[in-house]
């Protein structure tokens, strides 16, 4: 039997519980990103420089004129496929409002983007429905409202508007309000789902709060404004 060696990531011995170990508090040390596996690491977004460097390399190395366009196309296509980006570099992150762009809401995490092929790493078991509907990528970011309501915003980029409609319509509208937002929307006390063109947006508040519903709706409008028309 071997055991995992202490690598010093704990560092949080102050809050010992009766069970003999400390549970994470809001301010507790977060684990180092270096401890995360590659398998769970955020999908690397397309970066403009990445493509230009590849293109330059191709230009420098290719000798015969006829092969240049072919190689460039091939390599860029491979690069795009491997990163899962379909709508240009950094597109997904741009859909999320910055802190206080929507009053009271601040971002509490970086945006993570998952290509379709890696969607299971984010929603294992729930990915099939999106894949069948033609999901291209999913992006997610955490938010907090007035320092009391924590929430997550997910934006699924589908191949077309029909894909977003398919997922949206597959979910029953149990006790939902239908505010005028995007092409169609459903609002609950702790969640908001809407679709706009090829995008499906899902906002979830983790705390029950009388303000949560209205706050989610406002954040939803903030996202909707940023989605391409």
């Amino acid at each position: 039997m071997t055991s995992v060696e202490d690598d010093g990531v704990t560092g949080c011995g102050k809050s010992q519980s009766r069970a003999g170990f400390g549970w994470r508090r809001a301010s507790a040390l977060r684990i180092s990103s270096s401890l995360s596996s590659r398998a769970l690491a955020p999908e690397v977004p397309c970066h403009p420089k990445q493509h230009s460097v590849r293109s330059l390399t191709i230009r420098a190395r290719a000798r015969r004129p006829g092969i240049i366009p072919f190689c460039a196309t091939l390599l860029i296509a491979v690069a795009l496929a491997s990163t899962g980006c379909k709508r240009g570099p950094g597109t997904e992150a741009a859909f999320f409002p910055a802190s206080n762009e929507v009053e009271g809401w601040v971002t509490t995490s970086a945006t993570r983007t998952f290509a379709a092929v890696d969607l299971w790493k984010y929603i294992d078991g729930g990915a099939e429905k999106y894949l069948k509907a033609g999901v291209q990528s999913a992006s997610t970011a955490d938010y907090k409202f007035q320092n009391k309501i924590e929430a997550v915003a997910d934006i699924y980029s589908m191949a077309n508007a029909e894909g977003a409609r398919e997922v949206f319509d597959s979910e029953p509208a149990v006790d939902a309000k239908t505010p005028p937002l995007g092409d169609s929307a459903r609002l609950h006390s702790q969640s908001l789902v809407f679709r706009q063109g090829p995008y499906l947006v899902r906002l979830i508040a983790y705390e029950e709060d009388p303000q949560a519903q209205q706050a989610l709706l406002e954040l939803g409008h903030g996202i909707d404004k940023r989605l391409p028309r």
Partner: protein, 336 residues
């Protein structure tokens, strides 16, 4: 010495066969029938423990109340009087105990931190050293995100994901499944306590005890076609999974009847309960019925009507797997 024991064992078997022959020859059939009847497998007990005041006046589970709820469930499951007795029956000091939680559903629909703390408390009171307990799932980030304190300190309860230690190189197979197992399971657990969450599952129908074992293999994404059938049953047949898993404590404090496995508050309800069993198939069958009842209450179609009934439960109970029973006549549901 070994030869003597072997000879003695052979002799004993010969006498048994001879005795059976004599019984049959002398009209002892009724006696045999009675013996067979008494040897029939006992019903699988599934305990559902609930506490309407589990959250007190707040939204989160109260630690003292969940400990009491756990005690009630465990004592009923094992028919024992003292809160520590079931744990002493389950574990021995010196053993390494893994607690396989489910953190994939994210905040709101993952194994409750207070519940797992209560399990750790009782394990330690039963003589398990803190450092011999490991709370784990697939990803460390996921555990951290849902509120677990990530720790690899060997002097106290540890908590980390398989991503920290990786998977065994060797591929293990059963039926349709070929996977690498988490090194946490193979190297850090003598026995496993499974702490899943009761959820609707878009692909599998429902997820509870059996499906939670997808978190111990490296390639769960390969096993979602066809309603995860027969993959779920086959994963649970992998020798280290089957032999090490001893108890299932399903977290139904918050459960999900639609839109799972991710957290969707609009389709979740505060059941404020635990479902405890040594039989994962019986537990899953019972959980499935609970979800169906909630779906009926919300006027949703049955999972069968939606063509996503959890067929893997029947597969897990079939003659090839025998992981438990899905026959309601052989399941004793005890509500406390």
């Amino acid at each position: 010495m070994n030869q003597e024991r072997l000879t003695s064992r052979r002799g004993f078997l010969k006498k048994c066969v001879a005795g059976t022959a004599v019984l049959r020859a002398t009209g002892g059939i009724p006696l045999l029938a009675a013996l067979e009847q008494s040897a029939a497998p006992a019903k699988s007990k599934v305990v559902i423990a609930r506490d309407a005041a589990l959250r007190g006046s707040g939204a989160t589970v109260e630690s003292s109340r969940v400990l009491s709820l756990l005690d009630r469930a465990m004592q009923t499951c094992f028919d024992l009087d003292h809160p520590l007795d079931p744990w002493k029956k389950l574990v021995r000091p010196g053993q390494k105990v893994g607690i396989k939680v489910n953190a994939l559903g994210g905040r709101g629909l993952s194994s409750d931190v207070q519940l797992v703390a209560a399990i750790c408390q009782r394990l330690q009171e039963a003589g398990i050293r803190g450092g011999d307990i490991v709370i784990w799932d697939r990803g460390t980030d996921e555990l951290d995100h849902v509120g677990y304190h990530v720790s690899t300190d060997g002097n106290r309860v540890r908590c980390f994901g398989t991503d920290m230690v990786g998977y065994e190189q060797q591929l293990v197979t059963y039926g349709s499944v070929g996977s690498q197992l988490s090194k946490i399971l193979t190297r850090n657990c003598d026995l496993l306590i499974n702490v899943p969450v009761l959820k609707d599952h878009d692909g599998a129908g429902i997820t509870a005890a059996l499906k939670n074992m997808y978190g111990v293999i490296h390639n769960p994404n390969k096993y979602h076609p066809d309603g995860c059938n027969p993959y779920v049953a086959d994963v649970n047949m992998l020798p280290e999974v089957r032999t090490k898993t001893r108890l299932h404590i399903c977290d139904a404090t918050t459960a999900c009847y639609e839109g799972g496995p991710g957290f969707k508050p609009e389709y979740s309800w505060k059941y404020n309960g635990l479902i405890v069993s040594e039989d994962p198939v019986a537990l899953d069958y019972t959980g499935w019925q609970m979800i169906e009842r909630k779906r009926a209450e919300k006027k949703l179609k049955t999972l069968e009507a939606e063509k996503r009934a959890p067929q893997y439960i029947a597969t897990a109970a079939d003659a090839q797997h025998r992981l438990g029973t899905d026959d309601p006549k052989r399941i004793a549901v005890v509500e406390v």
